[in-house]
Symmetry: C2
Subunit: 347 residues, 2 copies
DNA sequence: TTGTATGCGTTATCAA
DNA sequence: TTGATAACGCATACAA
């Protein structure tokens, strides 16, 4: 059996109050003598506070809930790692759940975590929320007094803190790069079309096209679902449109394009230039290494928990403070998956 | 504020006992009338039990602690996903921690989780344990009455449940495949040399060599650390030994070999055949797709939590039951990274 | 069929 | 400087 405060108290012949006082370094003026006595006994009995009991009275669990679409996804597993590491630094543990991108699971985990009295929730919403859904989400946070932070993807509601990426800029960067390489027919494989990040990245694509005086051609855009397979499925269509380059809204679909290109005996970048999005670790090991838009995952994760901690320490009010949406800038990472359009012609 | 049993009781004019009784479907004969009344009130007030308070009295948190070396590692992130999903099915949540392979962190998280009264711990130990360490680990589980399960890697102590892979068989399979392809000089890039899985996989390598009447040549073995970089670093040495094939004890190092081969303008499998270990998802998208030893991660994860659940439900005693070590069989997955030795000569 | 009282391990209030 | 005692939200033995 674990030793409790009672055991320690009994061992030193003092009350549990006194023991609790010294163990928690309370400002009460406890004489050094009894102080040492208690500390010694606690150590000898290997006393460790029962966290559940502490939570019961303090109303703090020092636990945060992390709700992610899929932790086996490279981007999220890295994010999960940073977040856990950072939380650990602050003395917080993390409870996590995979939603597989469904709204039901998002709410299910949110409720589950809130039932377990997590101090905060960090989540990336992956489905479409109706106004009612947003309201429901907000109310869960409100009535349980747990701050909710959106990371990577957000809801259109200023009441939630958000830590995001400038998705549009990413789309712009990728597309501009391809344009500067001389490509005119640049296809775009999107994510689910109603998804915010999908829309924003596509906007960047359009905007780059516009800046270059190139027309936006709807037939060059094909919808995917961020999976490798959907990337593969998109290739035949893209080829049919005579595109010479493609901007894939994430790296997984780009990998799908790679795979399908091999089946068609097409080589990247000679036959098709491609730029992805995310910069997952595997990119540099692909053949050719995939050029992509890099998200500063480490910084995003660090910022997210730092911000959350300051909220939990009461330094910030998540609902009223300005600047509650932090937007990180992505960067183009040039590797070897895109070639000048002219070079292509020479082959 | 959240509604409590008291609120519900007050609302229906009954005692908290009655409310608790119906809410938990206790076998007390509660008349359908009051039953419905309570249920209705609970629903209207949106009552959700405070999990912390429940744990306080039931001594069960329905939480398991998952201690992994690195959740951003492809193998572990997949394992973490299965485990979380399975736990979720059983109504359990998971608290997780990254140890980065250090003994201190393993103990730190174990203590942390035990302080939080997790019902069980599933961990993969990644460092070397002295006898004292093993004893300490065991005692933590014992005094807190939390079953500890080792997954993927184990300690040499029958008191812990273990869910493992037949590592030696994996090494044997990979090496035999290369031997059957006609290779005589097969290098081996190992993991940290004192690590159990490293030793076991190497034993499989030796055993395959022995079965084929091939000599075990120590100079063909080079130590890595399971990272991509260590795979890259190993290549020049392997080339220097005139090896025509290499068995990499994990896929990450194999990826390192791929990368380094490109720098040397060597092609796989024409210039060098290679077989990895793990079957991480990216393997099939590499060029050429990496042949490897596949671990049934899904099954391993499912089995692990199923077993743990049966222990928690008291159907099994983790310390006395026989067969507490389950060993899964790996399988060779042939893709395109190895070629017949003779074909190589023809090129 | 339902209510009272108690306890889980801890912190907090207030008195001594 | 220290110790009763209450309280956190719930489940449960026992009583009514």
């Amino acid at each position: 059996m674990r030793t409790t405060v009672k055991d320690v108290a009994k061992a030193v012949g003092l009350s549990t109050t006194t023991v609790s006082l010294v163990l928690n370094n309370k400002p009460n003026r406890i004489p050094e003598a009894t102080r040492k006595l208690v500390l010694k006994a606690a150590k000898e009995l290997n006393y460790r506070p029962n966290h559940i009991a502490v939570s019961m009275v303090t109303k703090k669990t020092h636990t945060i809930g992390l709700i992610l679409p899929d932790i086996s996804n490279l981007y999220f597993s890295e994010l999960a790692k940073v977040i856990e590491e950072q939380c650990h630094k602050y003395g917080y543990n993390v409870l996590y759940g995979n939603t597989n991108g469904t709204l039901e699971h998002e709410f299910e985990y949110l409720n589950l975590f809130v039932d377990r009295s997590v101090d905060a929730v960090i989540m990336t919403v992956s489905s479409n929320y109706s106004e009612t859904d947003v309201k429901r989400l907000y109310e869960i946070g409100e009535t349980n007094n747990v701050p909710i932070m959106m990371v990577d993807r957000t809801l259109d509601d200023p009441r939630f803190m958000s830590v995001l990426l400038d998705q549009k800029l990413g789309g712009f960067l990728a597309t501009s790069y391809l344009i500067n390489l001389g490509h005119k027919k640049i296809a775009c494989i999107t994510g689910p079309k109603n998804l915010r990040i999908s829309i924003e990245r596509l906007e960047g694509y359009k905007s780059a096209l516009g800046d270059a005086g190139l027309p936006f051609d709807r037939s060059l855009v094909i919808e995917g679902d961020f999976s490798v397979d959907s990337g593969s499925r998109a290739l035949p269509y893209i080829l049919g449109q005579n595109a010479t380059a493609v901007f894939s809204l994430n790296d997984m679909m780009a990998i799908g394009v790679y795979r399908e290109c091999r089946r068609y005996h097409l080589s990247i970048p000679q036959d098709l230039s491609i730029v992805g999005f995310d910069d997952i670790f595997i990119d540099e090991f692909l053949e050719p290494p995939l050029s992509t838009i890099a998200q500063p995952v480490q910084e995003i994760g660090k910022y997210a928990v730092k911000k959350m901690m300051s909220v939990l320490e009461g330094k910030k009010n998540p609902c009223t403070d300005a600047g509650d949406t932090k937007i990180f800038k992505p960067a183009l990472k040039v590797r070897g998956s895109a070639l000048k359009f002219t070079e292509k012609k020479q082959i």
